[in-house]
Symmetry: C2
Subunit: 501 residues, 2 copies
C-alpha cells in the first residue's frame, strides 16, 4: 500500500522534473537564448510540454489513486499524506477530462487570437479582435465544462486558479473593498496635500540601480546562491526550490520601477525557494494557489517595499549609493511620491490603491461575458463606463482600454481575481504578523527585516500546499478571508499620506 | 514503406530533441546556474539522460529498421536515405546490446574513479588511482565486447569515436608523423633562432580581450545571432544548428590563450551551425565523427589562427585595440612567439607540433593496456620513458605525468586518437583547399577569410555525416587518409619559423 503511494509520488515527481526543465527553457528563451534559436527552442518546448501532459495523465496514476483511496489502510494515512493523494487526484481529474484534440484546437486559437490582439492593439481598433475574442469565450466555456460540468462556467475557471473560490464568494469579499476604494481615491484626489512626483523621474545610472537591486535582494532574504537576477522586457519569476530565477527591468528615469519589480519578483522567488519544507517534489511541498503566490509578491512589493519603516532604514543607504541625486529629498517626500495614487488607464502601471479597481472591473466583465449578460461587441463602451464609474477616468481609445491586457488572447479567463485576492490575503496575513510581532516597525526601521520575513516564511511559504488558500488564510489568521484588513490598511496608509480627516 | 521511414526519422528526431535539451542543461550548469542549484540540475540531467536512452533503444526502432531494410522497395531509396537508415541501424545495435545494469555500474565506477583520480592527482600519487584504473580497464573491455564481440577490444573502442578506424590503420597513418615530429622538434630546440616569449605574457585587460574575441568570432563566420560566447573554467562548445554556444577563458597575462581557445571553439561551433544542410534532425545532417569535429576546431585554431597570413591582416587591428601594449612588437616576432615549440609535460598546454606526440604516447599506452601487454602498475615508468623518448622531457611526478588527464577516470578510452586524427584530417583537407584556392594567402591577408572559410563550410561542414570520416576525407581530397600533409605542413612551417635548413 505504501509502495503504491510512493509510486504515485514518484510519478508526480517525474512530471515535475519535466516541468522544471520546461520552466528553464522559457527562462532561456527570454534571458540567454541567441535570437536565431527561437524556432528550435519552440520545438523543444512543444515536445516537453506534450511529454509533461502525458506524464500527468498517465493511466497508471488513475489506477493508483483508486487503489490507494479504496484501500482499508488509507485511514491510517497521515493528514499530509492524504492531502498529497487528494491534490494529485484533483489535478488528475481536472486534466484527464480535457480531450487532447481540444487542447490542440484551443492552443491554435490562442495563436490566432494573440496575433489579432496585437494588430488590434497596434491600431487601437477593438473590432479587429472582436471575432477572435468571441471564439475565445466559446473555448473558455467548453474548457470550463471539461473542468467541472456541474457548476457555473466562470466558477469553474476561477476555481482552476484559486481552488475553492467562486464568483459569489469573490463578490462578497471584494464589494466592500470596491466601495471603500472608490471613496478613498476620491478623497486623495481632492486632498490639498499632494506629492511631488518629479523626484521620481530623476535619472539614476543603470549601474547604480543594479547595485541597489542586488542590495535589496539580500535584504529581503532572497537567496542569490539559489537564484539569480536578470533583465527582461517583462519581469518574471521562474523555477523552484534551489534554482529560482527572477528578472527585472531598469529605466534610467524611473528608478523605483525596477526596485519595486525586483521586490515583487523576490516575493514570488522567496516563496518558491522556501515552499518545499513539507516535502520537495510532493504536492504539499508546492505553492498553494495563484492568489497566495501573488499575495507573497504583493507583501514584499507593497506592504514592505512601499512602507515607511522600510524607507526609514533604506533611504539613507539609497542616498549613499546615488550620491547627489537624492541628497536634498526628505524621507517624507520620497515615501509620499512612491505611494501617490492617481486614476490611470493601464492596470500594470496602477498604484497600490487603484490597482484593485482595475481588477474588479475585469472580474465583472468576465463574469458577465461568461454568463452571457453582456455582448462582446459592447465591451469598449462597457469598459469606458466602468473606468468612469470606478476611477473617474475617461478612456481615450481601445488600446488604453479594453485591448490593454494580453490575458484574454492567451486564453486566460478567471485569472484576474487572483491579483486582488493576493492583496487581500497579504493584508489579512499582515494583520496577524503585526499581532505576533508588535514591534515590527522598529525591527524594519533598524534593518532587521529578517524577523518579519522569517515570520512570513514560516507561516506562509513553508506551509506549501497543505490547505487551499481560503483555509490556509483562516488557519494563519483565525478568520475567514475578508477584505476588511486590506481596506483598513489602505485607509490608514492613504489617510496618513494625504493628510485626510 | 516511406511512412515507416518517416516514422523512423521522427523517432530519431525525438531522441535528438531530448539530447538538445540535455546539452543545454549542461551549458546552464557551467555558465548560468546558481551554485545552489547543482543537485537539482543533476536530477534533471539524470532523468533526461535516461529518457534519451529509452528513446534511442525503443523496440519500435528495431522493428522499423528490419521492415524497411527487408522491404523490396528499399532498393529504390536514394543513397542519402539509405545512409540515414544505415546510421540509425548502426547506432541502435551499438546501444541495444549494452545491458542497462552495465551502464549503471559503469557510471557508478566512473564516479568512484573520478574521485580517486582527483585525490591521486592532488597528492601526485598514482598508487591511489591504480586500483580504480584497473577496474576501469575491465569495464572498458566489457564495454568493447558489447559494442562488437567479434573484434579486438581496443578497435571496438576506437571505432565508437571514429567509425571505421582501427589501431592498425591508426599506427600506419601516425608512425611517419611520430618519426618526423621527433626529428623536427629536435631541430627546433637546437636552432639558433629562438622566439622571444616574454611578449606573450604582457598584460592585456580582460575588457579589451573580450572585444578582440568577439571581433575574431565575426571574422571566422561564427554566427553570433545563432550562438553566444561565455566564460568557463574549461572552454567548450555545445548545441547544434541555430543555437550553438561556445565558451572561452581569459587570462590577463596570456591574451593568446583566450583567442586561440575562442578560435578552436568557433571551429567546433561553425561546424554545428552548418552541419544540418542535408537534413536537420536526420543522421546525415549531423556531425561525422569526433575526428572530423576536432579537425574543424584545429583548422580554425591552428591552420588559420596561428598562420602568418591571418596575423598579417589581424595584428594591426590587435595593435589598434590594445594601444601601447604591442606597439613596438613586429609581426614576425609575434607570429614566431605564438608558434613556439617546446617539450612540456601537459598535453593541454602543448603547441601545434608537440601535441601529436602527447597523443601518440597515450594511444600506445591504451593499446598495450587493453591488449594486456603492459601492467597498470608500471604506467608511471612507462609514461616517463615515453616522454623522454618522444619529447626528451623528464617527468617530475605523477601529477604532471600519468595522472594529468581526466579521460580514463571518466571512462573514455580509445578517444585520444581522434585529437591527432583531427590534425591529420585538417591538414589533408587544407592541402585540397590550397589547390582550389591558390591565392588563399592573399585572400586571408586582405581580411577576406570568407572565401577560405566558405570553401571549408561547403566541403566539410555541410557534408554532415554522409560518409564515415576516412571516406569523406577521400571524397574531398581524392586520397586515402595520410599524415603526409600534416608532416609537410609542420616541416614547412617550423623550418620557416626556426630558420632550419
Amino acid at each position: 500500500m505504501k509502495t503504491k503511494y510512493e509510486r504515485l509520488l514518484s510519478l508526480y515527481k517525474e512530471a515535475l522534473i519535466v516541468e522544471e526543465v520546461l520552466m528553464f527553457l522559457y527562462w532561456d528563451r527570454d534571458v540567454t537564448m541567441p535570437k536565431g534559436g527561437v524556432k528550435q527552442k519552440a520545438e523543444q518546448v512543444a515536445y516537453l510540454s506534450q511529454l509533461e501532459h502525458e506524464k500527468r495523465i498517465k493511466p497508471e496514476i488513475g489506477i493508483l489513486l483508486k487503489e490507494i483511496q479504496n484501500h482499508s489502510d488509507y485511514n491510517s494515512f497521515t493528514e499530509l499524506e492524504k492531502r498529497n493523494v487528494f491534490l494529485i487526484n484533483r489535478q488528475y481529474y481536472k486534466i484527464i477530462n480535457i480531450p487532447p484534440e481540444f487542447v490542440g484546437e484551443f492552443n491554435k486559437q490562442c495563436v490566432i487570437a494573440n496575433d489579432a490582439w496585437e494588430k488590434a492593439k497596434d491600431e487601437s481598433d477593438f473590432s479587429l479582435f472582436l471575432p477572435e475574442l468571441e471564439k475565445m469565450i466559446d473555448f473558455n466555456k467548453k474548457y470550463a465544462h471539461f473542468l467541472n460540468p456541474d457548476i457555473d462556467p466562470y466558477d469553474a475557471l476561477i476555481d482552476y486558479s484559486e481552488p475553492g473560490m467562486t464568483q459569489e464568494k469573490f463578490e462578497k469579499i471584494v464589494n466592500p473593498l470596491k466601495e471603500a476604494t472608490v471613496q478613498l481615491l476620491k478623497k486623495c484626489i481632492e486632498a490639498e496635500k499632494q506629492p511631488n512626483l518629479t523626484i521620481l523621474s530623476r535619472k539614476v545610472p543603470i549601474k547604480l540601480q543594479k547595485k541597489l537591486n542586488n542590495d535589496v535582494l539580500k535584504l529581503v532574504e532572497y537567496d542569490l546562491n539559489r537564484g539569480r537576477l536578470d533583465e527582461t522586457v517583462h519581469p518574471f519569476t521562474t523555477g523552484n526550490y534551489d534554482d529560482v530565477r527572477i528578472t527585472t527591468k531598469y529605466y534610467e528615469d524611473n528608478m523605483i520601477s525596477a526596485l519595486m519589480s525586483t521586490m515583487h519578483e523576490a516575493g514570488h522567488g522567496t516563496y518558491e525557494q522556501n515552499v518545499g519544507k513539507n516535502g520537495r517534489y510532493q504536492p504539499i511541498g508546492m505553492w498553494c494557489s495563484d492568489g497566495i503566490h501573488e499575495g507573497c509578491a504583493r507583501f514584499y512589493e507593497n506592504i514592505i517595499g512601499l512602507s515607511n519603516p522600510f524607507w526609514k532604514f533604506y533611504f539613507p543607504k539609497l542616498k549613499e549609493v546615488t550620491g547627489e541625486i537624492y541628497s536634498e529629498v526628505s524621507l517624507e517626500d520620497f515615501v509620499f511620491a512612491i505611494n501617490r495614487t492617481k486614476p490611470t488607464a493601464i492596470r500594470t502601471d496602477a498604484d497600490e490603491l487603484t490597482y484593485n479597481l482595475h481588477i474588479i472591473l475585469r472580474f465583472e466583465i468576465e463574469r458577465d461575458l461568461l454568463n452571457g449578460r453582456i455582448k462582446v461587441e459592447d465591451l469598449p463602451i462597457i469598459w469606458s463606463k466602468k473606468m468612469k464609474d470606478l476611477l473617474d477616468y475617461e478612456v481615450q481609445n481601445d488600446a488604453e482600454g479594453v485591448l490593454q491586457d494580453i490575458h484574454w488572447s492567451d486564453g486566460l479567463m478567471g485569472y484576474f481575481p487572483t491579483y486582488t485576492l493576493g492583496n487581500i490575503f497579504g493584508a489579512q496575513i499582515f494583520s496577524q504578523l503585526k499581532k505576533e510581532i508588535p514591534n515590527w516597525e522598529t525591527q524594519i526601521e533598524s534593518g532587521n527585516l529578517k524577523v518579519v520575513l522569517d515570520w512570513f516564511k514560516v507561516n506562509v511559504h513553508e506551509r506549501g500546499n497543505i490547505k487551499d488558500s481560503h483555509e490556509m488564510v483562516k488557519e494563519i489568521t483565525g478568520e475567514e478571508v475578508t477584505s476588511e484588513y486590506l481596506i483598513n490598511y489602505l485607509q490608514e496608509k492613504y489617510t496618513y499620506l494625504y493628510d485626510l480627516d
